[in-house]
């Protein structure tokens, strides 16, 4: 008995589920094995304690009396409605009744069966009724004779049937001779109409004949199967009649048979005999040319004469007769069927043409070959265009249609849009594709122009793209990292510069909104570094929440315990960060710590914030070593956060890392999905970066995906600031999915460009799609976005320049709020000098960021150029702001 097995047995023992011999075995083992005994005792204690704790919860012991009464009433009701079990006599009566009903049915069926036997084939009740009706209305004598024939047996019966048939037909000819002739003329002419180009007018008519053909085909299934009996002979009479009275039958059968026949493929027999049918049809046509009247008579008399030739024939001969009968009538029908089939094919082509369905056209081509007459094929081609879909705001086919329409190219083709690959796939005729290609080459050229920095940073044409949409970004890590590099005498990597993170690092002292969640401040003034351009600043200030009263919070810290964290001051900074966080915990808050190295593990889970000393003590157990398996660590962290979820509180995963982690690309999407799921449940994150030589973009991505922000800590001062001044902003959100959309007025602003927010761009349609994840804003946090615009000269007063829309979800409600703000031409400052200090600062910061992002691009000021203008501003307005002083120093360092 091994240890593991014993443990399981101990559980079962306490559960009272162990059989006597096994429990004896267990006892024997326990006596022998000390570790197991200890285990047993511990278990005993645990079991009883847990039981006690669970029993402590007091609750009501009884249902209230009225509820009991209610149940009693329900029971009484149920007893009343419930079926009593049937007694034996009742059963007998039931079975008897069923038997009687069966007998009656059998009695009714018997004569029918008999007559069917005499007829050879069972007729459906409807057929019979129809047939009866026809018989009575059309020819009474024939009817009588036929019934006679059906009733008598043997050869005489057959004979009489044939006679009846003849009389029947004669009657037909007498009664409706003229009319049927007219019909036939009409019918004979239809194939010619069809074989020519198809006019849409004939569609309805042809479908009708197709129905008729289907009806015939269905009939033929019976008659052609070699069934040599009287009934099929009788049925051939209506078939004949149909030949004469085609349209009448078609009309009658259309509602019932038309549905099936419309889409039905022709039966095999028909296909086989197609050639002969067509030949006959041709023959008929040639005859018709010679003498229409002659031909008609021929067609009318041919079946008659053939039936008369064998009045009393025996079965084999009868088959021949029937075949002749049918063929003569069919020759027309078949030919018609061929034509209408071809016509149906044409419909298929038309549809294919409309939808641009390539495959259907191709498969149809094969069918067509067999028909020998080739239809004109629609050459549909496939063409792929590569385009930055977000830039052109193409999310759906509708967007594309509008875009193309505006540029004079109506969308006719089938298109598929791949947003991940940025490709559009068109299926259309080559002529249309050429048209589309000219349009897209224009757009591609515009795209290419945007990537060309030789003549300064390119601007977007408002006419091409009047709407700019982006998600808010409150990260600041990019600036802190760049600062560290510059202080070390290095030039930061241009790819790691995110201008918006530079701009948002500074305080612009926007007024805090009193009633609404956000205050939006628009300001425009001439750009200081590039003449002729105007800068638009959009400042969004979030409201400041009151003091934290009673909100509980649950933090799950994911600590990167890889070996790289031991380098420099990283560990020290990380520990300080955690200690600062612990210090902020109140008694009801919870914190869990996960150390992520090769095997991520929980250091502690769900600890209350009360005992800070013990939390600090735990940190000493962390010893960074090895590589960090971040995918396992992240998933463990999020699972732990889920377990410690506090409804209505702050639930945050705090990721502390230097970015040197193991996170294979294959697992990245999985991790991102998990983060996204948690985000929807209300668990956000904050990524605290240290070190600065790791995967900066990964950390930014994690923060963006998890409704969080990415901050970088370089000095202990940063950490202190994060937990003192910025704590509310970073840890207490006021709104989620904050998006901004700016729509420029092309009449006033011919060109514009946005500064920064490159990886936060959204498509136009994403703005009102509330499923799209966008940036979060914390309490009292502000966000600033800048646009550079070129304005038309001599603008009329109060001309609208741009509409700014803000859309967000307040944290405490599910509704989505959209607000709209407008800036007009007379709100633009006369000169840069008269702009507000905040505006000036933002301009300088953005310019500095761009000088680092686009080194040696004409039109962008150098660091010292920024410094020259920043210095007076600093001394006048920001002399108390340490951040600005730092910036000034940095700008002076960069050449």
């Amino acid at each position: 008995m091994n240890h593991k097995k014993t443990l399981r047995l101990i559980t079962d023992y306490f559960a009272g589920e162990l059989s006597a011999p096994v429990s004896e075995q267990l006892m024997a083992h326990l006596e022998a094995c000390e570790t197991c005994r200890k285990e047993f005792e511990e278990f005993d204690e645990l079991w009883s304690r847990t039981g006690e704790v669970l029993a402590e919860d007091s609750t009501i012991e009884q249902l209230s009396d009225e509820r009991k009464d209610f149940i009693a009433t329900a029971k009484a009701l149920a007893a009343k409605t419930k079926k009593k079990s049937p007694t034996v006599t009742r059963r007998i009566i039931e079975y008897g009744a069923v038997a009687a009903i069966l007998l009656i049915f059998a009695g009714m069926l018997l004569p029918a069966l008999n007559s069917a036997r005499s007829n050879g084939v069972m007729r459906s009740a409807r057929n019979e009724a129809e047939y009866k009706r026809m018989e009575t209305t059309m020819v009474d004598i024939a009817d009588d004779k036929m019934t006679e024939g059906a009733d008598s047996g043997g050869e005489a019966k057959e004979e009489s049937t044939a006679r009846a048939l003849k009389i029947y037909r004669d009657g037909l000819a007498k009664q409706s001779g003229v009319r049927s002739r007219n019909r036939r003329t009409e019918f004979a002419e239809t194939p010619i109409v069809l074989s020519g180009t198809v006019a849409k007018k004939t569609v309805r008519k042809q479908v009708k004949t197709k129905w008729a053909a289907g009806f015939e085909a269905a009939d033929r299934d019976d008659t052609f199967g070699g069934d040599s009996n009287q009934f099929s002979a009788r049925r051939s009479a209506p078939t004949l009649k149909q030949t004469d009275e085609r349209l009448f039958v078609a009309r009658r059968s259309a509602p019932t048979l038309g549905k099936d026949a419309k889409n039905e493929v022709l039966p095999m027999e028909l296909k086989e005999s197609l050639a002969s049918g067509e030949a006959r049809h041709k023959y008929a046509l040639s005859k018709r040319k010679k003498s229409k009247a002659n031909e008609l008579q021929l067609a009318a008399q041919k079946p008659q004469s053939s039936s008369l030739r064998h009045p009393g024939a025996k079965s084999p001969q009868k088959i021949i007769m029937e075949k002749r009968l049918n063929q003569s009538s069919k020759s027309l029908v078949k030919a018609d069927a061929v034509e209408s089939n071809r016509f149906m094919g044409k419909i298929v082509v038309d549809r294919a043409e409309k939808k641009g369905l390539l495959r259907e056209t191709e498969s149809y081509a094969d069918k067509e070959k067999s028909n020998k007459k080739r239809q004109r094929r629609i050459p549909v081609q496939r063409k792929v265009f590569k385009l930055n879909l977000k830039l052109w705001n193409i999310t759906t086919v509708q967007n594309l249609r509008v875009l193309m329409q505006q540029r004079g190219y109506p969308l006719t083709a089938r298109v598929s849009i791949n947003r991940h690959d940025n490709t559009l796939t068109f299926y259309d005729t080559s002529a249309n594709l050429m048209k589309a290609a000219t349009l897209f080459s224009k757009l591609q050229a515009a795209e290419k122009e945007l990537k060309d920095f030789r003549n300064g940073i390119p601007m977007l044409k408002t006419k091409l793209r009047p709407v700019s949409t982006f998600s808010i970004d409150t990260d600041t890590a990019s600036y802190v990292q760049a600062k560290r590099m510059i202080m070390n005498g290095q030039r930061p990597d241009p790819m790691k510069i995110r201008e918006e993170e530079f701009v948002n690092y500074f305080d612009y002292h926007y007024r805090s909104p009193k009633k609404t969640v956000f205050g939006v401040y628009l300001e425009a003034a001439p750009a200081p570094f590039r003449s002729g351009k105007v800068l638009l600043r959009i400042g969004v200030q979030g409201k400041k929440l009151g003091p934290n009263s009673g909100t509980v919070s649950s933090y799950t810290i994911l600590f990167d315990g890889s070996g790289s964290m031991a380098a420099g001051n990283r560990l020290e900074l990380a520990f300080q960060t955690m200690q600062l966080l612990f210090n902020r915990l109140s008694v009801n808050d919870r914190v869990s710590l996960i150390v992520c190295n090769e095997q991520p593990g929980l250091l502690f889970v769900g600890r209350r914030g009360g005992s800070k000393a013990s939390l600090f003590q735990q940190l000493k157990r962390i010893k960074p070593a090895g590589a960090a398996d971040f995918s396992a660590g992240l998933s463990l962290a999020y699972r732990t956060a889920m377990r410690n979820y506090l409804p209505g509180g702050i639930n945050k995963v705090v990721i502390i890392s230097d970015g040197i982690v193991k996170l294979p690309k294959a697992q990245l999407s999985e991790v991102m999905n998990e983060i996204d799921r948690s985000r929807r449940r209300g668990i956000s994150n904050i990524v605290i970066g240290v070190g600065g030589d790791g995967d900066d973009q990964l950390l930014e991505k994690l923060a963006a995906a998890g409704d969080g922000s990415y901050v970088f800590i370089d000095r202990s001062k940063d950490a202190v600031e994060l937990f003192n001044q910025q704590f509310d902003a970073r840890f207490r959100e006021i709104a989620r999915d904050v998006k901004i959309q700016v729509e420029f007025n092309a009449a006033a602003v011919p060109e514009y460009r946005q500064i920064g927010y490159r990886n936060r761009q959204l498509s136009k349609a994403d703005f009102r799609n509330d499923k799209i994840n966008a940036g979060e804003v914390g309490s009292g946090q502000s966000v600033t976005a800048l646009y550079e615009m070129k304005l038309n000269r001599e603008l009329p007063a109060k001309m609208m320049l741009a509409i700014v829309r803000l859309r967000y979800k307040p944290i405490d409600s599910d509704e989505v709020i959209e607000e709209e703000f407008v800036i007009t031409s007379n709100e633009v400052d006369r000169s840069f000098a008269t702009a507000t200090p905040g505006f000036k600062l933002a301009t300088f910061v953005a310019e500095f960021a761009e000088s680092l992002r686009y080194p040696e691009t004409p039109g962008i000021a150098s660091g010292s150029g920024v410094a020259a203008k920043l210095s007076p501003l600093f001394h006048r307005n920001f002399s108390n702001d340490g951040k600005v002083a730092e910036l000034l120093m940095l700008t002076r360092k960069v050449k």
């Binding site: 009272g16 079991w47 669970l54 919860d57 009501i60 249902l63 329900a74 149920a78 409804p647």
Partner: protein
């Protein structure tokens, strides 16, 4: 079914069922609702029920889980409320305080178990149901119930050990 049988079944099980429902819903009235619904379902059920007790437990469980789902709450047993409620009504001596502290830790540990494990623990340790009955209630197999209980106890023990190390 005879009238007396229903009476006895109600009498025998109402307390346990109320406790069980309360564990999910944390509300006396809702728990009473759940039990009442279960009994009404029981009297309306026209097929033979072999184990009425397990059947009733299952009915209560289904009702509670459905309700929680409707309320968009997280469908698991939480001991959180108990902790708050039991705070008020007893001014105990020191030893009991320590015991209570202990109890809180156990509560929290149970709270941290997986939802299914938690259910097994409650059914076994609080209600003393057999594996067979638990299997019927939770729609699991008997061996699975045994395994879950074992896992739950193991987890509970390690969590407790960790908590008490401090």
């Amino acid at each position: 079914m005879p009238q007396e049988a229903v009476e006895t079944i109600i009498h025998d099980n109402e307390a346990a069922l109320l406790r069980y429902a309360w564990r999910y819903l944390h509300d006396d009235a809702s728990a009473q609702d759940a039990v009442q619904v279960a009994f009404i379902k029981y009297v309306h059920h026209d097929k033979v029920i072999f184990n009425p007790r397990a059947w009733l437990f299952r009915a209560v469980r289904n009702y509670c889980l459905n309700l929680l789902k409707q309320q968009q709450r997280r469908p698991e047993i939480s001991l959180e409320h108990t902790a708050e409620q039991s705070k008020g009504h007893s001014d105990a001596p020191d030893t009991e305080l320590i015991n209570r502290e202990d109890g809180q830790i156990i509560r929290r540990c149970i709270d941290n178990l997986k939802p299914k494990h938690k259910e097994v623990v409650v059914l076994k340790l609080e209600h003393g149901r057999s594996y067979r009955e638990i299997a019927m209630i939770m729609q699991a197999t008997v061996s699975n119930v045994g395994f879950m209980l074992h896992e739950a106890m193991k987890q509970l023990r390690s969590d407790l050990a960790e908590e008490l190390v401090r």
